[in-house]
Amino acid sequence: MIVDKESYISLKNEIISLSKEYISQEELKNFSDHIENKVASFKPTLMVYGVYNAGKSTLLNAIFGVDEMSQTGDAPETAEVHPFEYNGYTIYDTPGINAPIKHEEVTIEHLKKTELVLFVMSNDGSFEERYVYEKIGDIIKDEKPVLIVLNNKKGIDINSSVADEEINKINAHLSKICDEVGIKEAEKKVKIVYVDAKTALDGKLENEDELIQSSNILLLESEIEKLLGESSGTNVKNALDRFIIEFILRTITNIDGKIDRPQEKLTQELLTYLEKLKQKTESELKNMALESVAIITNSLVEKLLAKENTSITPMIEKVIGEINESVNQKLESVKNEIRSKIGTFESAMQRLSIDVSDMKSKNSNVTENSERMPDSDSSGTAVAVGTAVANFIPPTLVIPTPLGPIPVKPVVQFALTVYVIFAGSNEAKTRAEAELEEKRRHHLAAKNRGEEFGFKYKQNLLKNVDANILNLFDSIIKQYIDFSKSICEQNDSLLQTKAKLQDILNSLK
């Protein structure tokens, strides 16, 4: 329970700092101004409220005894809230309810601020209508004092039994409607004054005391005085609390609209998928690489043993060409997969995004990048992909250079030396044994050369696989991680703000 003015101001500031991102500037200003004004004066205001054409404006003119103080007409006219000073208080004239013109929001907004209500209905129709009592019931529910003015538009004798019956009827209707919504003894909470506004106005303008007397306007005026005089800080406090509660509830509704669980979930799904695809692609590419290593190592050994030195380079180039091609194909198909997955993800996000513009700005970063991926076929982006592929084992450069020239010659030379050593001997067996030894060494040398080459080739291939995986996945995964974080952070802060606002609500209720 808040009692002093200072705490209203600090409460106001707290609420504004919590809700400023979720409420329009205009509404914020309205909220802030109203609280400041109320706290400054702590005076109640009275609002003239009611069915259109029931005679609100005529009534105000009658009270002030001026002809065109407030515009009157037979078709809906009042479209704005007009303040009038009355004995140091402010009375507001408001557009009528159920009028076809779209100004009822103004009235509803004002109703939230006001402390006291003068509800005007006429005896020529509207007092038989259900919605009129529903509106009055709403005000009673808000614990705001209501004074019902029954305007004698029909022109009956307001001191007659017919008039009494009408008053009784209004009471009965009101208590019936209020019973339905659980407000007990509603008729005790309102006062009804039968007034002939037109006669009162005429009386005041023409200075005809008989008219003034018979119009009941003096009774109404004294009732208004009483209402204003009796109403205390409690009324103001009550109205102010309700005004604040309503504002907080509106903010919470806006916050709820922004909390985005499904988007969070979708992004997480996509991330999981990308991570898994990354791992899978990596292991597939590595297995392909290892297979290629086995092929090249074996072939190289065979060629060395067969001394087909000239066909070694074409063989290596062929194997490298093949691995390049199959890795390329694999990467292309993975890219296609990612492309289609991101496409599905984005359309799902678009279906979800309640506030499209908001979502767009958050998403733009990701969208741009992810769109670049799928379009890799188009000329501009083909360069990026082409570069990635070019980095991957360029056959003429990467493989031969670190290995040096294909090591055929040393083996042959060694073989010749052995032959020379044993050339002079007549001992065939000895020579054969030497030759066998030479062959063995030749095999071992070929094996070692092959494996040595294979090892370097393997290292090269794996390095390139890593580079490709990094190139393909890391930036995109990072982007989605950032995106997911931003959604989570936003949701977290929304939830926190909501919780704080709910705390304030509970302290007010």
């Binding site: 069915v51 259109y52 054409n53 029931a54 007409g73 037979d74 078709a75 159920n98 009028a99 076809p100 006429s122 020529d124 129709g125 509207s126 038989e128 209508e129 259900r130 009592y133 538009k153 022109g155 004798d157 019956e165 009784n168 009827k169 009965a172 019936k176 008989e210 008219l211 018979s214 799904e269 999981t272 998928y273 898994k276 695809l277 791992q279 899978k280 292991s283 597939e284 297995n287 290892l290 297979e291 086995a294 050994v301 043993l305 997969e337 599905t344 799902a348 065939a428 067996k429 020579r431 054969a432 044994e433 030759e435 066998l436 062959k439 063995r440 030749h442 095999h443 071992l444 094996k447």
Partner: protein, 576 residues
């Protein structure tokens, strides 16, 4: 007869000329009924297995909700249809008459206008008043009661809901309880009777012409293809008068006297132009409101004018002009009456069944429900696809991991045993992974390894062997003699071969690679079989169910649209 009375006479004469244009649309109505029943039948034929529904709670609930909604909507249709039949009964009771229904808000001056028309008949025939009591029994009454008025004396706030009216020559004037009153069922009854009308007069009170709820009511009438005249009623007010010498004119009791007068023409014009503008906005291109002009009238001043022979008061009441415009309408009574049953049926189809004017009505409700179900199904399928793709990645990762763990230990002696062990671990882990992913969609699922053994290339096939290459040389062992002999071809020379095995290591890496590839294919295909099972057993039937529902609706919709086109055509021919 005063000139004022004479002014009204053409209207009453025209009433004598009304000839019946009663049309029966029973056949077409039966066709419509058949369509609804056929749809109901088809809906009932969609049988959904309880087991099937329980497989996925969210989807199951949604399917049941759609089926439930269909039942509900169809029941509504049948009820509305029967109500329509009741109104038709009312129409056929009055089939010789042109049925004018006055329909509007509480206190809009409905009964006063009716009483005025009945009371001021200048011709022989008297108006015959009647009223339907709560039980629908007809009784005679003397005049139209203020049925809006709650009878307060008896403290009975729930006044009797009833329909009253009178017959005058070819005219049947029906008075309805007011809308928006304290007793909502009054308004409901009035709404129901609207369908029976050949023509509608919609009064709006001059005390607050055309309130927002009245605009909504008019919109609805226009949507129902109703022919309407709007009028501003109670365009009167009171004034005090001063005597020439000063002081007010007073009544017998000495009170200041009040004189009932027409509202000023300026006042009335502003109201008329306001109402006209509003109507123009809501009617758009509708022709329904063009039949009669709009006047602000006062039955009260007209009556006083007649009674007191005050011609000016009478003429300014605008009642004569109002009579003229209604007379014009009545000249077309026959063709209007002919078209009404078609209009009603078309309106019923368009509004109650097709929900032309609201997403919350008729077939639209079902479409929305079914479309939402479609979205959930699509979402489930999307999720399923994702789970399947993720599981495939998981399988390859699992194989990599497990094989990696063992690869150091594998050698040619233990290969078979270790591969067997790896297989066991893989079977268990992969089954679990696939099962987990499928359980996100289905309540119960067990991964089936049935096909495993028969497709499996046994671990024995992945044998690790040493790679041995044998190098050989040959040398001659023949003696000199043998060499000579051999040169004459007598003997063969002899040779000895030397061989040595060179160890090239083993094929372990290749075998492991092959094993991995083989298992990847094997488990992926096993998993896919399990996923396919879900597709066949759950997702496809789900799709079929959805398509069936969708198709039924589309079929019904096209039938209904066809019927309205046909009805429009017949109506045009009949009223040519």
């Amino acid at each position: 007869m005063t000139p004022s009375h004479a002014r009204l006479e053409p209207f009453y004469r025209e009433l004598q000329n009304i000839s019946s244009g009663f049309e029966s649309v029973d056949k077409k109505r039966d066709e419509l009924k058949e369509m609804i029943y056929a749809f109901e039948q088809k809906t009932q034929n969609i049988k959904v297995d309880k087991d099937f529904i329980s497989k996925n709670e969210e989807l199951g609930n949604e399917i049941e909700a759609v089926l439930e909604k269909q039942k509900e909507v169809i029941a509504d249709w049948v009820m509305n249809f029967n109500e329509m039949l009741q109104r038709e009964e009312f129409r056929s009771e009055l089939k010789e008459h042109f049925i004018v229904i006055i329909f509007g808000k509480v206190k809009a001056g409905k009964s006063s206008l009716g009483n005025f028309i009945a009371r001021n008949n200048t011709l022989e025939q008297k108006a015959a008043f009647f009223r339907y009591d709560e039980a629908g029994k007809r009784e005679e009454i003397k005049k139209l009661e203020e049925i809006d008025e709650d009878s307060f004396e008896t403290n009975n706030l729930e006044c009797t809901v009833s329909i009253q009216g009178f017959k005058l020559n070819g005219l049947a004037w029906i008075d309805t309880p007011g809308l928006g009153s304290m007793t909502p069922q009054n308004g409901k009854l009035a709404q129901e009777y609207i369908e029976a009308a050949d023509y509608i007069i919609y009064p709006t009170s001059s005390s607050h012409p055309l309130q927002r709820d009245e605009i909504e009511q008019l919109k609805e009438l226009i949507n129902q293809n109703k022919k309407i005249t709007v009028c501003i009623t109670k365009s009167d007010t009171t004034e005090r008068r001063k005597k020439e010498g000063g002081g007010f004119v007073r009544d017998a009791n000495g009170e200041i006297a009040k004189f009932i007068i027409n509202k000023t023409s300026q006042n009335r014009e502003s109201q008329e132009s306001y109402v006209k503008n509003e109507i123009k906005e809501i009617a758009q291109n509708q022709t329904a409101l063009k039949l009669a002009e709009l006047f602000s009238i006062s039955a009260l001043t007209a009556q006083i004018g007649l009674d007191k022979n005050n011609e000016e008061l009478f003429l300014d009441s605008n009642i004569p002009l109002f009579y003229d415009s209604i007379t014009d309408v009545i000249k077309h009574a026959k063709e209007i009456k002919k078209s009404v049953p078609y209009e009603n049926l078309i309106s019923f189809i368009e509004n109650s069944l097709l929900g032309k004017n609201s997403a919350e009505l008729g077939i639209n409700v079902l479409k929305n429900h079914i479309d939402n179900l479609g979205k959930t199904i699509a979402d489930t399928k999307r999720k399923f696809e994702l789970l399947k793709q993720n599981a495939n990645s998981d399988i390859s990762m699992e194989i990599e991991m497990v094989v990696e763990e063992f690869s150091g230990k594998i050698d040619k002696h233990n290969a078979a045993a270790i591969f067997k062990e790896i297989d066991e671990i893989l079977s268990e882990n992969i089954s679990k992974k696939v099962e987990e992913s499928i359980l996100e969609i289905l309540k119960d699922f067990t991964f089936s390894l049935n096909e495993m053994e028969k497709n499996k290339k046994s671990g024995d096939a992945f044998e690790i062997k040493d790679i041995i290459r044998t190098v050989t040389t040959r040398y001659e062992t023949s003696s000199v003699l043998r060499k000579i002999a051999s040169s004459f071809g007598l003997v063969e020379r002899t040779y000895e071969t030397l061989r040595e095995d060179v160890n090239f290591g083993d094929n372990k890496h290749k075998v492991i690679l092959d094993f991995k590839q083989n298992r990847q294919e094997l488990f992926a295909s096993l998993a896919n079989k399990n996923y396919d099972f879900i597709v066949n057993d759950f997702l496809t039937p789900l799709d079929n169910l959805f398509n069936q529902m969708k198709q039924n609706i589309v079929e019904l919709e096209s039938n209904l649209v066809g019927l309205t086109l046909e009805l429009n055509k017949i109506k045009m021919e009949k009223t040519k």
